[in-house]
Structures are given as C-alpha cells and as structure tokens.
C-alpha cells in the first residue's frame, strides 16, 4: 500500500470535493485560500497514492435496479476465496466480502426486478461449486447509504 501523509489541507480539499466533485481547482483554491496549483498537485498526489478518487456516483434507480438483496453464504468443500472470486465475476454482484462469523461470504446483489431472480439463482449462482447455504435478505428500504468511504483499486 502506498502511504502518503495526509494533512489538514488535504482533508479540507477532500471535503470541498465531497460537496462538489466537479468544482474547479480555482473554485476550491478560492474557498480555502490556496493557489490553484497547490489544489491541483494535492489532488494528484491523493489520487496517485490511491487515497482518493473523485468520481460520478449514480443511483441504483438510474440503472433500473429495483431489487437489492444481500446474501450471506456458507461454503463447503471449497476455498471461500475461490467461490467469492467466481461470485465477483457476476455483473449482478455489486459487492463481495469474505467474512468471519457464522457465514463465509457476504454479497450484495442488484437486479432490475423480481423476474430476474430465478435465472440469477438457478443459472448463475447455481452453477458455482462449493455453496452450501444461502441466507438472503431482501432490501425493502434503505435508511442510510454513505458511499464516500470505500476500498480503492489501483488504476491500471
């Protein structure tokens, strides 16, 4: 992991970008009393060290995802990481974590609607070896979904 020291200027810039990721360097500089060059180089450093990304985040509804489900999975006779890797290949799987607890893998699935569930369950999940049980939790409401802290992948 790339370690970069984060100071209060970095944090202030991040806060400005959280509010508006498309604010210009000059706008950010003006509100923080910095120069646009400083803002620009700080942003570059945070991005290059994989500490931050400034991105467009789109709503589930923009993509027509109306059916969200969390599935807790128990594994048998196979490495959990191998099963998780296969699950992660599925476009419907938006998050997959290896977990310690009663279950082995936790996934978040997004589908357009309930009609897509049989095919997803039987033809996709059903062909992955090593899944012993699946405990689904169908999302009926989202009280809070703060997405601004996340694992960041190195850009290729």
């Amino acid at each position: 992991m790339n370690q970069t020291t984060i100071d209060s200027t970095d944090r202030a810039i991040v806060e400005e970008l959280r509010r508006d990721g498309r604010a210009t360097n000059q706008q950010i500089a003006d509100s923080l009393g910095l120069t646009a060059t400083t803002v620009s180089s700080r942003i570059k450093r945070l991005e290059d060290s994989d500490q931050m990304r400034v991105v467009a985040v789109s709503d589930f509804s923009a993509h027509g995802f109306d059916f969200l489900m969390r599935i807790a999975i128990e594994i048998e006779g196979r490495k959990a990481s191998a099963v998780a890797d296969e699950l992660a290949q599925l476009p419907e799987v938006h998050a997959a974590h290896l977990v310690a607890g009663r279950y082995d893998i936790d996934v978040l699935v997004a589908l357009s609607n309930f009609d897509e569930l049989p095919a997803f369950f039987l033809e996709k999940i059903g062909t992955i070896r090593g899944i012993r049980t699946m405990t689904p939790a169908i999302v009926v409401d989202i009280t809070k979904y703060q997405f601004d802290v996340a694992p960041i992948e190195t850009r290729t």
Partner: protein, 153 residues
C-alpha cells in the same frame, strides 16, 4: 419492469465520469463526439433528477477506520424504521438497510479497533428498545466493491 433511466449517451457519459469526475466537458465532448453544450446539459439533467452526484471517495485507510463489519439485527417489525434511524445515527455506521429475511436490519460499520465494533453492536444497538438479537460478521477481505452505483437520494 424497471427500466434504466439512462439512454445510451447518458450511459457513456456516466461511465466516463465514474472513472474520473474531473475531466473537462471539452474532453468528454471530444471523446463522445458531441458538443460541449450537450455534455453540460446532460450532466445538469442527471444531477437535477438525482441520478448522479460527483464526489470524493476516500480509502478506508484515509478514513482511519480500516475495517468493515456487517451487523445484522432482529427488531420488532412495528419498530423497524424507528430503530433503523437510531442505528443510522451512530457514528461508526455508514449504511443501514431494512431487509426481509432472518434479520430485518443490516448495518454497515466502519471501525478501527475491535472494541469499537463491540461497543457499537453489543452496547449500543443491542441495548436499543425493540432490538432482540444482533449478529456480527467481520469482512476480512473485500473481493469486489462497486462504489460507483449507490443510493444517493
């Protein structure tokens, strides 16, 4: 049938901005073969309709809360919304889903020390009136995480 609220051009625009939101309209316009005015108009519409937002995403590392846990809770069904709101107000909780299944609340907890997780799950959530059972599951490795599609409105 839920349909995507993005047309083909919107989707290409969103895909580009999901990689880097700070690309200029001019560059996007050149890449997509449309005018800068079209890019500007599309972005404004997507923002106005609450379909897209531009923000900084920081690593767990920078947040100084390097671990993620799922806290599943069983709450009285008639109190589930109220309890979910209370859980959402806890400092380490960054997501709360109301679900149908063995548990009716899933909370995502970002923590640094194991003690902080125990405090959140056992001392705070389990102690709330209307909560009967709490189960914790700690993410030891993230295999996939799509932060680019979320609940934003």
């Amino acid at each position: 049938m839920a349909e995507s609220r993005l047309d083909d051009l919107d989707r290409r625009l969103v895909d580009l901005l999901a990689l880097d939101a700070r690309v200029s309209n001019r560059k996007i316009a050149a890449e997509l073969g449309v005018t800068e005015g079209t890019v500007r108009g599309r972005i404004r519409r997507l923002q106005d309709e609450g379909l897209i937002t531009f923000t900084a995403i920081t690593s767990f590392d920078m947040a100084e809360s390097t671990r993620l846990a799922f806290i599943s809770a069983q709450a009285d069904v008639d109190k589930v919304r109220e309890v979910a709101e209370q859980i959402a107000a806890l400092p380490l909780i960054n997501g709360v889903l109301i679900t149908m299944g063995e548990f009716n609340i899933t909370a995502l907890c970002l923590f640094k020390e194991l003690g902080d997780l125990v405090d959140t799950a056992s001392d705070q959530i389990l102690a709330m009136p209307g909560i009967h059972h709490v189960e914790t599951s700690i993410a030891v490795k993230t295999i996939k995480y799509n932060a680019k599609i979320a609940k934003i409105t």
